[in-house]
Amino acid sequence: MTTSAVTEKNSFMKVLSNIWELVKKIPPVFPIFFVLFIIVSLLSPTYSTANGVMAFLRRTAPLGILAIGQMIVLATGGFDLSMGSIVTLVCLVSSLLLANDEANTYPTIGLMLLLGAGIGLFNGFVVTFLKVPSFIATLGTMLAVRGAALYWVGGAPKGYFTDNFRMWGRGYIENVPLVGRFPIGLIVLIVVGLISWFAFHRTNYGKQILAIGDNVRAAKLSGVKVRLVRMSAFMVSAVLAVIGGVMIGGYGGVNVSIGEGLEMDAIAAAVVGGVLLGGGKGAVVPVVFGAYTLEILFSMLNLLGLPKPYKDSIQGLIIIGAVAYVAISQRKKR
């Protein structure tokens, strides 16, 4: 009897510890996000209405997309500092090319995507063939792209975005059951997220990216086309920056300071989502939640009435904390 009780207890503990093992595998960003979300909806009635939640999801969608792009480059062990400038380029140049004519919208977006792919290709080329560290390469393109965008439009935005351009960042699909209205930007995020999730977690491509970030030589020996994969990572990142840029421009309208500092926000979101700088680790969904976690935290600070600049301090503490957490838990494993 005693023995059976002991075994029962043991098996119970085993189940518990199994559950605990599973729980430990959940990236901490998920529970943190949901706790913060609950706090925020208690603080403000707006965040407990479908409308308020949808507005929040809409606002953060572009950062989620940028964070995915940044994550892919970070996972190869690189940086993409040119993202913010690409957003500036998209907003400023589109305002010029649209010329207030709805018919120009899709050609313009198409051109921007091509430009973005070109910038990504350039970044990738400089890193893989000229062997310039991506931090420096993308710092250079960051300056060059911003300068070129400002030169192209003559220093400040020229025109206005058309309504069907703005729709991508600002619009809603009305009369959706349950939630009332559903942001188009969120649909873009979900589609981009699904595609990148599939590519990153269900195909060889993702494994190759992580392998390069983990150990380039080993990856090369196991037959990964390192240069090709690395260049493609920069292109994906730049193209996602263009998509994010269209949404950001659509959300707020045109202005000069748009895009400044976004590369750092994207890196912060990725880091909160568990990405390791130096490469070898990364996942799509936690990174998107990283972006949402940062934003919900800022909303909370605002609802608590804290001055806005503290947002920076909190963001700083969080990214250090997130990386320290990963570093320490990894050391424990060893």
């Binding site: 020229k158 025109g159 707020g252 009435g305």
Partner: protein, 434 residues
Amino acid sequence: MKKSLLFVVSLIVVMAMVLTACAKEEVAPEVEETEETVVEEPEEEVVAESPGLQMESAVVAAQFFSMDDYNQSLEWMANEPVNPDDPIYLQYLLEDPTSIADYPQYEQKDGPYNICFSNAGVNNPWRVVGYTTMGEQVLQLQDEGVIDNFYHIDAQGSDEKQIADIEDIISNPGQCDLLIVSPNTSEALTPVVEQACEVLPVVMFDRYAFTDCPVVSERPIGGYAFGISGAEFIVDTLGEEGGNVLAIRILPGVDVLEQRWGAAKVIFEENPQLNIIGVEFSAYDSFEVNTIVTDYLARFGEIDAVWMDAGGTAVSILEAFEDAGVDYPKAMVGEDQNDYLGFWKENGLNAIAPTFPTYQWRTAVLASVMFLQGEIVQHNWVLPQIPVTDANLDDYYNPAMPPLHYAQCGCEDMVNYPDAWINVDVAKYDNLND
């Protein structure tokens, strides 16, 4: 390992605490100081309860604000121009004549002249329109053979760069007969502007440095008037009942912008029925501004009026109201930017657009040439500054102009109007020297 972790964390915390503690402690007297200068009548000392007025972003830097200047602006707002028959960009509200004869240190020469322009930046739509107007004025004067070379040196919004830029001009005295300066910030540029005055005549406009050495200091009535028009409009509209007011500022530390907020703050503090729920900096970022308004709507439920120190992002603010599914504010303050005027007309807003007219850019060139030619100019040249209201909205809103055009450009009589303002190309004016 754990020890070091604890050590680092406690170090950070201690550092943060020390920083905030000593900073806060020392800031406290400054806040009192500014409030003393702001609230003049001691018997009426209103302790503002509005949360927004307690924020750090609501502090007006003492060096930019004086109650005397505030009162003087009020006086000027009531003045009629001395010379109403001249075009608006040459009118002045008070007489303060001077000419090159008053400055024996500067040599009078015959034209054509070489003029240098040290510009704080062309980094927002207001400055783009202003610089376009200026560039077109220079082109016309070049065609008339009055100006030879015009060197534009863009500081890109950096004090450091502008100081170095002006030092280069001082080092090369033969290059220009006169220097036009639009300082990036007042205090920082003061020493170098004073040095420049010793070498060549200086004309200053838009933002001012803290010096009287320029031969002409020229701008419309300025920041105080801008702030007063908007704040009074809010007070009048909301009446006895008052309501929630959100104040959006672009950035701190620039004289004309500090004065706009400083003046509005005086009025808000005199009207405790207004609850100033927040004072925030937008850095001209329309995405940011949308987020700010959405957050305040979430926190306070209702915003009755929005005061702005510049209207560049006014339309984004109104869109945030739209997106939140609430009515537009009962009183809206923007600027004479064309998109805002259009939005106002289309949606029948109850709104005002205080202005800081861009025609002052043109005046700077004209005043420079007049001075060099020995004509009478105004030493302290105060241009008229007329707000856009419902009554004159149709005079200023022009659907043919682009959304980021500024209505009061005073450029309608120029050769290339309206093309040069529709297809703006500021690069065209970068090299007006051959």
